[in-house]
Symmetry: D2
Subunit: 386 residues, 4 copies
């Protein structure tokens, strides 16, 4: 697509959802390093998210995590968001932090625990009704640590039953996004470890069940863009959780570890017609040592840059080379777009959107970072456990 | 199952298919080390396979590879096998060694190459008609080496079309087994890289299309027994290609690299009701530096030992521990079977089958190894390229 | 070694050090599941460790972790241990949980932070003087999360300087054990990521600096027994941290994920003359979902079983097969020992040691588990952060 | 380094050695796809290499592989090269393709085989004397496929002895480069599997023994630039074998799989003062499906682009951010250089060198590809086995 106006239009209409929890503290099992100025309430998270949107122009929605973002009045929270130019996005369930879930939630051997977990998922749909959210994101930490610990197939049966119950509760315009993860925190089996398992369940559930691809949740060496192409072809790709990693699920800023991979993923998204609101493009990452808001701004920009490069691929030249078996020519057509410096183009896009062409500098200049450090004193900072 | 007679009965009825090509020379891209006495014809491969069956009692069928085992008269070959106590097993297609297949076979951009590949697959079904084989095993080396080289989704379309054509040609009692492989010889994308892709295609094709799990074809760290449990639950597990590896797809003797993993796989097979003739248990491995026939005998024995241990799991104790959330107790129930020395039990099983309790020693004593070295002089030894 | 009395003698003299922190709570970044009865003080940890030693007979020492096990009077703590049949073992430093260490400890860009970290290490040597411990175990979480974050080579310079300072402080009978780790909690570079880095530093420091091999700290597919053989040949293997894992550094019970690997490691230890007090055999693992004490007993037993099998290898037969290039014969010599059920032999060893042949059953029958749940009420349970 | 003239000067003086074998046929164990026009003699390989140098300006030397490039008169071959503007580079030994080496070469249990292997290595030094080559590159395929197959430590002893013999034969201006490889073709142990093993041997041998880092020879996830920084700090980095891969050792074009990684490696080279003739920058890769000469030109260009970006890093800004613990600022300083499109700069460099700014187009236009297809008819094409 060498049609620059069309590229710009696509970039302007892009929407990247930021996760409320990325504004709070996070860390590793070894240590959570608290940062000054971190939000203490869902409202303060939205305040920070509003900054990200203000400076990037393409982050209009915020994903919530229940119970971390539990409030008494979700309609009020939605209004709070709206007043800051935001909308509430996907509702993320949490069935991994209660003591009852030590051996599983929806796949637990004990039906009482399963019921409790399903009740939480249903409660999340209630919240979606209140917030107007379209998507319920389901990630299950369920699995086992030792061979023999539980019955692999029986856990699948329990999973299928729980998903079916929740599916039936979804409204007409609501969806469930089933996320898979290679491992962690389960260390032997994970009940939804790969795209194939998520796909098989979603297929049986029906069109409102879609797969969520978290870019950090694969075995070493897995070709993620292949999975993206496949799920798009099967009409079963519902969302991305973006982040990056060098090793396991390190949750680094998206594009930080392998920007070429992110570009290839975005190319397949565009090739498969996936750059539409039907696919949710969400960040899901931690900022353990770097400041939260600028890290999220940088992440949004990284997605934009990969998207811009992918949009610039000369698809006619590529198709011609592919058809003629010109291996080097086809590779060169792709690399030509990747090697382009798209930062000037994105600066123009931002100016046309009426925002500063340099979001990082503009955020630094805004004084917001100092202000939240000064103002957010006392109380309990938000974090994974809060 | 602590019912020893039942365990023995299961072990006696076990059937492990050996691959004709494992009797020939093989190696790496660096070197194929030829071995004296290696077969020069499909008939000589069957002669060797008959030795394996004679000394193990549980290797009654032999998989063929076309064109490596091409003969003029397949009915005569089937009769040759029968006279040696064998039957011909799965027909393995080969669409990776013709110069036309440099950029793919059934997924090649050029329809003429695709047609040639499909014609070969249909020819394999013709051969199945002649040999009485039930299973067509499909492994495609198809894929790309460089980003951009070809269109990922378009290749899936071509693959689906080819599979559908072949599926329609299958007889009532015939099946196709679709094998997946993480990588090699394609080094960027592989068109059937994981169980999910194979499953998605087989699901659309129908009940005669089943997935073949090759134990060496996964990303590092993949939990293979989980996939086995899942495919059995979905009734889409058709076959195993057994081998083992420490790194990529090293094709070492099954059970040599991780005997505990093989045990866990066999446990899931038994747990899922898969120890039946509906699942084909085949070896698919190379013996690059070790002598072929004893290596295959050892491999068959390794599968037997894993099966015996898996049959010995006290499933009542296991289920009780699992239900009560007794992590260590459940693990111990599994490990107790694994830690059992099943060699005496298998010696008894062999004696009851009327064969020597020590297949390796009996083979060594038989003089066959010396005989084939002496007799098989001249001609061209069989190998991957032959 | 088919000399059964010698095998038994070796097994009786084996000493496996258990880590104080494994008796406390641990978990993942997602959740720490607290367990009833978990110790609240270093003394209670020693009480539990005494149980492990009482029932296994081969766990006479306990590693401490500073500051988690900080007490006012280390001599008194040593006496407390002695009264329970134990000795204090390695002192483990902790320079990863203070807020100052967010960007590193001994490799931090700021010299003040480095000095603080070195001071802690020197304090640990002071504690060794008081406890009579021989070994200072050094694990550094130091590293970076993002390319460019810090200068890789400069961090090595800082590391070398810190190690040298601590080395100079060691007494004549004291050693430092330098542990390496592939990744986590640093997610881009780790300052001591592999055995080569640890080896290079220890070589320059001198004979009192030795490498500690943690079995969970390697890249996927790494051949750990090769590293063991190499370090023994170089006289630079000082200790093991035993645990196991299927994926990253999962810290499962040693021998749980790959018992064959543990056997191969113990074979190389014995082959290289390493089954002596000069090598410290320590557990370093977490018990996130299983009860602590029985899990540690099981772990000790797993090491014993691997050791027993390794001792049973017929090294003459092995050497003969190796010399003659008999690949299958050599492999069979090793596997013959591995496939042996050594549990009866170990039961005998225990009876000769005057303890119950079944440590797990004896512990269960002892009532200790119930007692600590009843008695250890109130206070703060020990854990990684405590 | 924002000093553009200095950047250009560095780029002009860069020298990338191409390997004679990359001009010949290569493939996988499944198939070698022959290409028309492939050289049949060492001289024809030099003819092709001269094209690469003519169009890139920075590939003045060619590595030889013995016996693949065996000739009667090496001085004449050197003169042949010189007449085409080339010099002969490193001599690569081959002790993996003779039938005697099935179980090893310099580490083989049989001293006669070891002697044969060492004799070949000494012969290679003789050839170096004749060609004027500085570097002997040693890669050993030695290892084992099965646990127990041979004694790990004894093989190290044999390796040390062989290396020592060859080291003693080196002339004053000659070096040996010891290459390590994670696995393949050995599938259980490899005798030089990692940088640590190569380093330990080189350290004992002396200053003329240096480590060669092949970018495709590491475990999954290994941080290669860390190793580069370490070896430079230790003054033990002698050379690179450049290539890239997504999975095992796929030998794709350098920079094709992960251009960001190549940039990080080149940054560490420059940071450590390694962009000098003391470090040999060599390609070692296969072109299985793409045409050889353009693939090598593209590879040279990929190294140039990574080098250019690494030279453009603003090291003052980077150091300032690193010193102040500004994680995002330091990362941004690095990424700013990486995101720069350096193709215009390299076009200028080429024009200043007096060559075409677009090497790929210029090669295509030259007619060389058609000419070699037309002229190189008959004879035996060069390849790994030839």
């Amino acid at each position: 697509m060498s049609d620059v106006p069309a590229v710009k239009a696509a970039l302007k209409s892009q929407a990247i959802e930021t996760p409320s929890w990325a504004y709070g503290n996070s860390g590793t099992r070894f240590k959570v390093f608290a940062q000054p100025g971190v939000p203490r309430t869902p409202q303060e998270k939205l305040d920070d998210a509003a900054q990200v949107h203000a400076f990037t122009g393409v982050a209009p929605t915020v994903a919530l995590h229940i119970p971390w973002d539990k409030v008494d009045d979700y309609a009020a929270l939605a209004k709070y968001a709206q007043e800051r130019g935001l909308k509430l996005g996907a509702i993320n369930s949490n069935v991994f932090q209660d003591d009852d879930y030590k051996l599983g939630s929806v796949t637990h051997p004990d039906p009482a625990v399963r019921r409790k977990a399903v009740d939480h998922l249903l409660e999340c749909v209630d919240i979606m009704d209140a917030t107007g959210s379209r998507d319920l994101k389901l990630w299950f930490s369920d699995g086992t640590n030792y061979p023999g610990q539980d019955d692999i197939a029986a856990r699948q049966d329990r999973l299928a039953e729980a998903l079916s119950t929740v599916y039936d509760r979804l409204g007409d315009d609501q969806r469930m996004l089933l996320e898979y993860k290679f491992f962690e925190p389960a260390f032997y089996t994970t009940d939804v470890p790969d795209w194939g398992t998520a796909y098989a369940h979603c297929l049986k559930l029906g069109p409102k069940a879609q797969v969520c691809v978290d870019t950090g949740h694969h075995a070493p060496g897995t070709n993620i863009e292949f999975i993206v192409a496949l799920l798009l072809r099967e009409k079963k790709l519902g969302a991305f959780d973006f982040n990056s990693r060098f090793y396991a699920d390190d949750d680094l800023m998206v594009g930080a570890a392998d920007p070429f991979q992110l570009f290839r993923i975005m190319y397949e998204v565009i090739r498969g017609g996936g750059l539409t609101p039907d696919i949710a493009f969400m960040l899901d990452q931690c900022h353990n040592i770097e400041p939260k808001i600028p890290a999220i701004i940088r992440s949004v920009m990284n997605v934009q840059e990969a998207t811009a490069k992918a949009l610039l691929v000369d698809r006619d030249a590529l198709a011609t080379a592919q058809r003629s078996g010109d291996v080097l020519g086809a590779n060169a057509a792709l690399m030509d777009a990747y090697n382009t410096d798209v930062r000037p183009l994105l600066a123009e896009v931002r100016e046309e959107l009426g925002i500063d062409p340099d979001p990082m500098a503009a955020y630094r200049a805004s004084g917001w970072a100092d202000r939240i450090v000064a103002e957010r004193v006392g109380g309990e900072q938000a974090g994974w456990g809060a």
